[in-house]
């Protein structure tokens, strides 16, 4: 019974690391380090297949970059330093979460801007219709 439980546990552990092992085994010190690695690589974009993260991608370059990230982690680099290392080589493109700066203002606040324009349009239309009286409103709608 105990043995079965142990085997079960071992299988569960094996399954838990299946995504990493499916691509390439990296000698992590502990589960915590592996988790940190997977979180970090899932925030980084694969340059070859750009809809995949470094964590998911099977591309050759993604594998190389995973090794690079792993090496940098072994050297005690922080997540921010590792991201900076990649940004210096591949630009903000490698980040799935684009940083807030002048060139990305529209990206960050564009949706809010569009929403504000829409809200203003609704308010103006409602006010105008309220002011123009009930008799005219249906006629205007029919025309459209």
């Amino acid at each position: 019974m105990k043995r079965a439980a142990r085997i079960g546990l071992a299988l569960a552990a094996l399954l838990a690391c299946a995504p990493a092992f499916a691509i390439d085994p990296l000698p992590f010190k502990d589960a915590q380090q592996r988790e940190r690695f997977q979180k970090l690589t899932s925030e980084l974009r694969c340059l070859v297949c750009q809809n995949e993260s470094l964590n998911d991608s099977n591309a050759d370059l993604a594998r190389d970059l995973r090794h690079e990230v792993f090496q940098l982690m072994q050297q005690g680099k922080s997540d921010a330093e590792i991201k900076q290392y990649l940004v210096a080589r591949y630009s903000d493109f490698v980040l799935y979460d684009p940083p807030l700066k002048t060139s990305t203002l529209l990206l960050w606040f564009g949706p809010a801007l569009v929403l504000a324009i829409g809200a203003a349009a609704v308010v103006l239309t409602v006010r105008r219709r309220a002011g123009s009286g009930p008799a005219e409103a249906p006629a205007a709608e029919e025309e459209w």
């Binding site: 050759d60 370059l61 190389d64 690079e68 493109f93």
Partner: protein, 180 residues
Amino acid sequence: MSRALPLAIFLALVGLFGFGIWWNQRHDPREVPSPLIGKPAPAFDLPVLGDPARRVSKAAMLGKPYLLNVFASWCFACRDEHPVLMAEAQRLGIALVGYNYKDDPADAQRWLAQFGNPYGLILADRDGRTAIDFGVYGAPETFLIDAQGVIRYKRIGALTPQVLAEQIEPRVRALSGGAP
């Protein structure tokens, strides 16, 4: 006035989407802009293809501008690019250095024997480690590096006669004109 409004909105949308199409035809949205342009090329120390005992470093390349062309025998687009290099390399007036990227040396040499060798020197980066420092994410890619070792321009994708004439040659001329 209110009858013209939907038409105006429609036309504005047509304009917006038309601009999107026009823009994407001129710019590859998948192209990763290099943050290295205008900055010193990363330090490298790579073996020469076919003569691994000989190594060439960035410092050894200083003093003269050169085009660094990333290629590999496994790269299909390189095969399209290759005849262009064969035909135009001499005329460019700048050293053409090959960068054999993640390739088997024997494959690379067979490939060059078959299609010709336009390069004066070929560096071999078997594991692609140095290529990461250059921000290489595929082949072919081409870097224009000046005499001070600064990256002036990067082309992602195959070189064509048009790219050479419009992008590379003016820059090469500016480099040799500016040099003392």
